[in-house]
Structure formats: structure tokens, C-alpha cells
Symmetry: C2
Subunit: 227 residues, 2 copies
DNA sequence: TGTCCAATTCAACAAGCGTTGAATTATGTG
DNA sequence: CACATAATTCAACGCTTGTTGAATTGGACA
């Protein structure tokens, strides 16, 4: 029982499914199932090919996931780094709000990456630690610079720890993108589409009053996220 | 090869491993691996028994997990409900801080439950929705009452939405318990043991300035969590 | 002593997983 | 037209998983 009947139709045309399509499929499946539970067979099914093909383009399941991160993070980093330039003299409130918008723009379509980053971090990020750190640290550092500049300009309250503030801002934004659409409609009277924006805005109002030097001063007009 | 050599020592003494010990083992394994990845064999190994024994005490893996939740939530609810009594006239800041302490007290030893609740919520909580809702809603409602009382007493800023505030407070507390010990030492110079407390305190300072009617008023003295 | 019963183990099941090696095909190039 | 080659599939491997049915044990009770 080593070799069976070789009769079915076999090989196909060249370049029917390129690596990028595989990444799209992987993203969708990871998003629904999480890293552990997402199976290569499900990803292949989604992409309309054989599981073995994944191994032609990627070394392993983990490498596939790594490629997925590598595809998204540079865009976030580029936007955040432009925002963090010292020459940007807009009000700090506006710039911090912009951080949320960047996350929203890049990651709102991509629950897989969010929940994965979140999940892997929470469990100690064994295995892909290096990758996450390499991709995440520059983003985090850039945001931190915005807080430091805000402190120098006297727009944030003196005792504020820029790293902790960064941590709270980013973490809560990820949470809102993930959890708000599920939870807020359940506990409040909000349709899921509105829940994210309402949650973002309410969270930022609260956050800003927490970090501002003068919490009673009115916020500058902030643009709405494109939904 | 249907029946093998029946020679080993088989059955044992009565009540060697009771359901509670199984729950302890399950909790530990769930904590390390998450709901999906935790295997019944690993749980049984931890408890020092056969995997089949789990099915003697529980209907399925999911039922085991449900029992785990059922064991912890009532304690949280009891404490939170006592805190939410309208006769409690302590400053709202102090009562809200107390909410964090309750979570810390009941869940800090129990990362499994936290990450599970978090994970299941994030992915839509299919399967155990009813259970989570049944256990969680009364807790959330009680905390909300504290915010409503704070609003009535004029200690919170008038526009504040009590449900959103509850959501932010609880969500961020869960995040801090989970993520701070992993992330803060990595981005700041803090040993893991101190990271949680420092994170809790910094988060609450920020949060309170965000919700307080008079953010510049000094906070009442708040007790430290017992670490 | 014999019998019942709750507690426990054993052995096996079907299914799903990540992964690999060999076979197949379609195309571009000489 | 032949050939090399990149893209794809097939079939299988060894492993782990949740779950089950039958067998076994040891104490309680008559």
C-alpha cells in the first residue's frame, strides 16, 4: 500500500496562484481562526490550490505568517514616522488622534494581524518574538516621540510617562478595533458599524483629558475616520 | 491486533482525583496554551489521571471550560455588587480604583480565564456566548451603576457615557494584567513584578483625569494592590 | 462473603494537522 | 521539435486531538 492508482488529472498551468494571493487567503483564514487554529488546508482551499503549493512559496506555516506581518507593518511605520517629524507643529491632540487614524486605516480591514499580534504578545510571543519586536519597536518608538514633543511643547501634563502613554494609546486602539464591534452592540444600543467610530472617539476624548496639560481646554476639531 | 496484552495494573482507588482538582489542572493548562491549544491529555497529565476520567466528570472539553468560568465569576460578582451599593458614599475615584483591585484580586492568579474570555469575545464568542453573557453582564451592570452614581453625585464629568466608561475601565484592566508583564519590561526598565502595579496605577491616573468632573483636583489616597 | 456501584484506566476510533517526495503539466527557449 | 524549468498536484507519513466502550478496581453495604 505504498503507491496507489495514478489516474486522476494532475498538474496545471504555470502561475495560477501567486504568493500574494496566498497571503490574501492566509490573512482571511488567520483572521477567522487565529494562528494556532488556522490550517494550511483551509488556507489552500480559500486560495483554490493544493496545500503543498504553500510549501513551494513559503518555508513553513510560521514563515507564511511572518510574510503576512512583513506585508503590513512597513506601511504603518512609514505613516507614523512622517507624523512624528519634529517639524510637525500641529496641536498634539490632533497628532495623537492621527495615530489612531493610521491604525484604523491600515488595520481595520485586517483583524487577523491584530488578533495575532495581540495573542502572541499576550502569551509571551515565543517563536516570532524577533519579528514582532523588529517590526513593532520602530512604530512604538515613533509614537513615543510624539508624546515627548508634546511634553516639550507644554501641551501634555508634566508627570506623564511617554512610553506608558504610548502603550495605553496603541493597546486600547487595537482593542477597540477588535472588541468594540462585538461588545458595544451587545451592551449598548449601537449598530456594529458605528460602534468602532463611536468607541474610538469616546476613548480618545477620555484619553486626551487624561494626558492634556489643560484638560478643560476644548479639543481642536478632529477629522472623522473614513468608515 | 484488536486486544493487546491485559497485564498492567488497571483500576485504582475511589475518589483519587475529584472534579475540583481537574479544574485546577485545566486552569493551569488553559493558562499556558489557550482554549484551542490546550489538550485534554495535557490536563489529565497535570492532574495525574487518565484523559478519559475527564469525561466521567464533565461532558466535553467545552463543558470543562464552562465549569472553570462558573467557579470564578461569582466571587467577582459578589465583590462588585457590594461595591456598587448606593449607600457607599466614598469618593467615586476610590470606588473605581476598588473595581480594579477586585479584578486584580480574583484574576491575577488566573491568566487562563482572562485570555480565554478575551479571545472568545474578540472572535465573536461563538459557542460559549450564553455563558459569558450570563456571567459577565451582571458584573458589567454593577460597575456601570458606580459610574451612574458618580454622575448623580457630580463627581464625574456630565457628558460621560457610563457604559463606555465601564467598557474602557474593565477592558484596559484585563489588558494590563495580561500584557503589561510581557510588554512593559521590554519597552521600559521595569522588572515584571512591578510592571503590573505601575501599569495599573498609571492607567488609573490617566483614566480618572479623563472622567473626573474636576481633573485637576488631587486624587484621594488609594490603597496599593497586595502583590 | 457476595454484590453493587462509583471511580478509574485501557485501547482504540476517526479526523485533522504540518510536512514531504515524487509525479505531472504548461510554458518559454534553444 | 526537444528540452529544461517553474508551478502545481497527489498521495502518503507520522503525529496529535476529542471522544467512546469496555474492562477493572476498591470500598460500602447486606
Amino acid at each position: 500500500m505504498t503507491a496507489a492508482s495514478p489516474s486522476k488529472s494532475r498538474g496545471p498551468k504555470p502561475t495560477k496562484v501567486d504568493p500574494d494571493q496566498l497571503l490574501d487567503a492566509a490573512q482571511a483564514v488567520f483572521a477567522e481562526a487565529g494562528l494556532q487554529a488556522a490550517s494550511l488546508r483551509a488556507i489552500a482551499r480559500r486560495a483554490g490550490c493544493d496545500p503543498a503549493l504553500i510549501y513551494y512559496h513559503f518555508d513553513s506555516k510560521e514563515a507564511l505568517f511572518a510574510a503576512l506581518l512583513q506585508r503590513r507593518f512597513p506601511g504603518v511605520l512609514k505613516d507614523v514616522e512622517r507624523l512624528a517629524e519634529a517639524s510637525d507643529l500641529r496641536p498634539t491632540a490632533q497628532r495623537l488622534w492621527e495615530v489612531l487614524l493610521i491604525y484604523h486605516r491600515h488595520l481595520s480591514q485586517d483583524p487577523g494581524i491584530r488578533s495575532l499580534v495581540r495573542g502572541e504578545i499576550a502569551k509571551g510571543a515565543e517563536g516570532i518574538t524577533g519579528l514582532i519586536e523588529g517590526q513593532m519597536r520602530p512604530v512604538v518608538t515613533a509614537i513615543r516621540r510624539v508624546f515627548e514633543q508634546g511634553l516639550e511643547r507644554g501641551e501634555l501634563r508634566p508627570g506623564l510617562h511617554p512610553m506608558l502613554a504610548t502603550f495605553f494609546l496603541v493597546k486600547m486602539q487595537l482593542e477597540i478595533l477588535d472588541v468594540a464591534p462585538v461588545m458595544l452592540p451587545r451592551f449598548m444600543d449601537l449598530p456594529p458599524e458605528e460602534a468602532v467610530v463611536a468607541g474610538m472617539r469616546a476613548w480618545f476624548d477620555l484619553f486626551w483629558r487624561g494626558v492634556a496639560r489643560d484638560p478643560s481646554a476644548p479639543l481642536p476639531p478632529l477629522p472623522d475616520p473614513i468608515v
